[in-house]
């Protein structure tokens, strides 16, 4: 036995979307009259539209709520609003009076600090201060001296070498 669902047929593909709009009363006049013309000769689309008329209103059945429900609802919103406003108020009460003098006071403080810094630091700022010699650490100074020492030792070595070369030359001449 065929089920009810099997017996139902779908609407014509090119009209299905328009039929949904037609059901809801949407779409421009030309579209609607095109659908109406088609419906006059199409059983499938007529049944599709009937299905929509049966099903869709039942899906959207609104539940009824009593006036007391809405009265409670309203009172609750007002309560929530009051609670929110009170929550905001405690810090606003603290901040708002300060806001009047907060900006000028902050500006004055910044200017005063800058002025102090300029006066106290006058002449002590240099772009590239040269490092005084006496401030070079002693270890580095020692290294420099050692370098000089080694240089002089090298020179002595060279001198000895020249002298020994000279001696060799003169000895050879004497022979």
């Amino acid at each position: 036995m065929k089920s009810h669902a099997d017996m139902l047929e779908t609407a014509c593909k090119e009209f299905e979307a328009d039929l949904v709009l037609y059901y809801y009363g949407d779409g421009v006049e030309t579209e609607r009259s095109r659908v109406e013309d088609h419906l006059q000769g199409c059983g499938h689309c007529n049944r599709f539209l009937e299905d929509l008329h049966k099903l869709l209103p039942q899906i959207s059945q609104p539940r009824e709520f009593s006036p007391a429900f809405w009265a409670d609802y309203y009172d609750e919103v007002v309560e929530k609003l009051t609670a929110r406003q009170e929550k905001k108020l405690w810090w606003r009460a603290f901040i708002t009076p300060m806001r009047v003098w907060l900006v000028p006071a902050f500006g004055t403080a910044v200017v005063a600090i800058l002025a102090f810094a300029l006066v106290l630091g006058k002449g002590s700022w240099q772009a590239n201060p040269e490092r005084p010699v006496e401030k070079i650490p002693q270890e580095i100074m020692a290294d420099v001296n050692q370098l000089e020492f080694f240089k002089s030792m090298d020179m002595l070595e060279s001198l000895r070498l020249i002298e020994s070369l000279d001696r060799t030359k003169t000895g050879a001449k004497n022979i």
């Binding site: 139902l8 949904v20 709009l21 809801y24 299905d51 099903l55 869709l56 039942q58 609802y73 919103v77």
Partner: protein
Amino acid sequence: MCQKGESQFFEVLVRRYMEKAFRIALDFTHNVEEAKDLSQDALLRAFSRIQQFDGRSSFYTWFYRLVVNICLDHTRRKGKIFWERLGDEPEDGFTRKELTDDMSRPDREAMAGEAKRRVDQTLEAMPKKQRTAFLLRNHQGLSIADIAKVLETTEGTVRVYLHRAVAALRQSLLEFV
């Protein structure tokens, strides 16, 4: 805005939009308490952020966007959408007689519960924007143009969402027709 003006504005805002906000949230959550919390949160946010409303769209599309975003965030955080328990709410649509005329009462209730569960399942399986487009059109009666504004997309895309959603629901509920 002075304090008195603010409180008057808040009263108008809540009185005019509380039901719409609550029903959207209920469509998303299927839970009255959660829907209450979310919709009340949306109203409070709308009130505190009213200066962000630039007037480019109508107020209610701006407000709907706020509600929908809060609901989508909530479902994202929660992971999955709820399933309504079988036979929980006898005033729901699927307990109505047109589905099940010739059945006994327990059969009708079981059938209605099954259909309701199928709807929830199908809606849950839909992509978020598709589901939202369907809920806003079918449940809230928003126009396609307004849904496009709420979802920040084109009208063409909304039509596609709507068609796919309806086709999926019809497919899943054929046996109940």
